[in-house]
Amino acid sequence: MSKSHAALAAEFTADENRTDWHDETLWWVRQKRDKAVQQIPEWEILRQWASAIKEHTLSKLDEYLAIFEREAISNGIKVHWANDATAHNEIILKIIKEHSISKIVKSKSMLTEECHLNEYLHQSGIEVIDTDLGERIVQFRGEPPSHIVLPAIHLKKEDVSETFHEHLGTEKGNNDPQYLTESARTHLREKFIQSELAITGVNFAIAETGGFVVCTNEGNADMGAHAAKIHIACMGIEKIIPKAEHLGVFTRMLARSATGQAITTYTSHFHRPRPGQEMHIVIVNNGRSRQLGREDFRNSLKCIRCAACFNTCPVYRRSGGHSYHTAVAGPIGSILNPNLDMKANADLPFASTLCGSCTNVCPVKINIHEQLWKWRQVIAEEGLVAPSKKMSMQVLGYILSKPSLYRLIGKTGRWVLRHMPLLVKFKSLNPWYKQREMPEAPSESFRDWYKKNRRS
């Protein structure tokens, strides 16, 4: 197992200035979101509708997927079904090999990150160029994205300058964002022109039309799909919405929730391949049907990947996306990833104070913090909590259920704190004391005071 969230977060916060910068940058995005949604008086009604549409769709997911497949095929799109990440990757590799293609561009798709498509294709000697600016930056650095909407948000412009100097030959030490973006643009234009195959994600797939919608701010999905002779769109089974008329509810919310924009710069509707083009859709399960079967966690599949929960999460802002050691970080990742691998991600539902801000910003009303609590129960039940923690909880539960024992331990504890305070001041044994003083221990508990002063 990789390092836990707590350990990785401790490494992240060790650089306090950088932590402050990360926190403030994302808080600024959260504030932009607040300003945008406060301008929509019916915002809470939209949330209700979005949630209801998604809940309805999830309740008839099999039917809507079948309708979508039928309509997409009749539009001339080739539809593929992948039960897991491996099947998804194999389908894409097969298409690539059938056409003997080597030049591939990909716009942002968290699903392909979840399936580790780039690594898989790399092992077969095939290189994919990520065309989202942030994704290209982290790809150069050999890092995963740290945020699902802002993949390189953990990096400062100085870091980007260094990376571009190394990989694109830009001027050393030139940190001008305009200059750096221009260099990336020139570099990516070349890749778009040469590309033979474009992979995109899918934000919404519409059952009644068999079409799908891809939202980007950079237009990179369009550049890829329009230039290449083959377009492969990858989608999780939960991306379906029933009708085109439902789309407006979501497009009004997606960008406002994500970045505070009224709408993404590009909202591109794909329905059929253009003449001479081949269009594929890979519909992926990868554990989603298992999550659909978990009553307590089913509605996590309503997620539209806006990342509002990331930006508002006080823990995410101070621990960085990489501390979640998964493709989808943040609060939503912490309720999705235990479904994919409970053991490897057993730490994630605990990487939260359960403050509930995530639930409040969620445009589709996923009760994220309640699901975090519920995952903790499941993880404890499965025996995936450290034995020492389990034992301390057993002892605590026993003491607190026995009033006289509770009083004795309380009294003894306060006596020790007052008379032998050094006993609790081993920073390695008492994490509280590392950066915080212990509370002062009074000689009398409230109960003692009450008995003396009030009991008649």
């Binding site: 916060t13 009033p403 003083e437 508990s445």
Partner: protein, 245 residues
């Protein structure tokens, strides 16, 4: 009106003055207060750590202690929320149901049940208000910055009734302090960083006191304040509402 006073375990042991202030305040309002002596804890520490099954003993003890009152009031949003959401007793389901629906956090009890409109309180200090998450987002003690909804705050309305008090709100009005129960030790680094940031936000307003409705948050902030030798004190809202000239 017979009010059962629920004093969370750590307040009983470490912050008796908060419990005393809560009791005196409610008595001033004409409530008949009983403090069931065999009470311990609501069970939240175990439940939030994933061991709700280990809090059944606490649940039974809670039900046994609080079945014979009209209301249950506690100076803690977090413990009240836990009881409201999770208290269960297979032997006494009706008693548990009664408690879940008749337990109130102090400021919500003062506002919604006693309908307090004026207070005889005096507290001539500069006070920063800390919104505790479970009280705010769980019990809806105040509006929340994330939602598009009318603005209100039960605790701040009460503080506005206190003579001499100058209230200051931090720039991030409802950001979590990082206590989070066992989170404060298992995620020590992030927990402390969150606490430091809340304190910094209040320090910009040069407050003398950081006040809140949950002693757990305040205990965490106090630990950080004391470590850095700050003169800023933490106080529970009950202590302020109970202060007189």
């Amino acid at each position: 009106m017979k009010v059962g006073l629920f004093i969370p375990c750590y307040i009983d042991q470490f912050y008796p003055m908060v419990a005393i202030a809560t009791m005196q305040l409610l008595e001033k309002m004409g409530c008949e207060i009983v403090f069931p002596l065999e009470q311990t804890c609501c069970g939240q520490p175990m439940a939030n750590s994933g061991f709700n099954t280990l809090s059944k003993g606490c649940d039974r003890n809670f039900v046994a202690n609080f079945s014979d009152v009209d209301f249950i009031v506690a100076p803690s949003g977090s413990c009240v929320l836990h009881v409201k959401e999770h208290l269960a007793d297979a032997q006494n389901p009706e008693a548990a149901e009664f408690i879940r629906t008749h337990i109130f956090e102090l400021t919500e009890f003062l506002t919604d049940v006693l309908k307090v409109e004026k207070l005889d309180a005096h507290f001539p200090f500069s006070v920063g208000w800390h919104n505790s998450c479970h009280g705010q987002r769980g019990l809806h003690l105040s509006s929340m910055s994330e939602l598009v909804a009318p603005h209100f705050s039960k605790p701040i309305s009460l503080l506005n009734m206190v003579n001499g008090l100058q209230l200051h709100l931090p720039s991030r009005i409802d950001e979590c302090c990082g206590f989070g129960g066992t989170f404060c030790v298992f995620e020590e680094a992030v927990s402390v960083k969150m606490g430091k940031d809340r304190i910094k936000d209040h320090e910009e307003n040069e407050v003398e006191v950081i006040a809140g409705g949950d002693v757990s948050c305040l205990m965490h902030l106090e630990g950080i304040l004391k470590r850095k030798g700050s003169k800023v004190r933490v106080m529970h809202i009950a202590e302020i509402l109970n202060s007189q000239k």
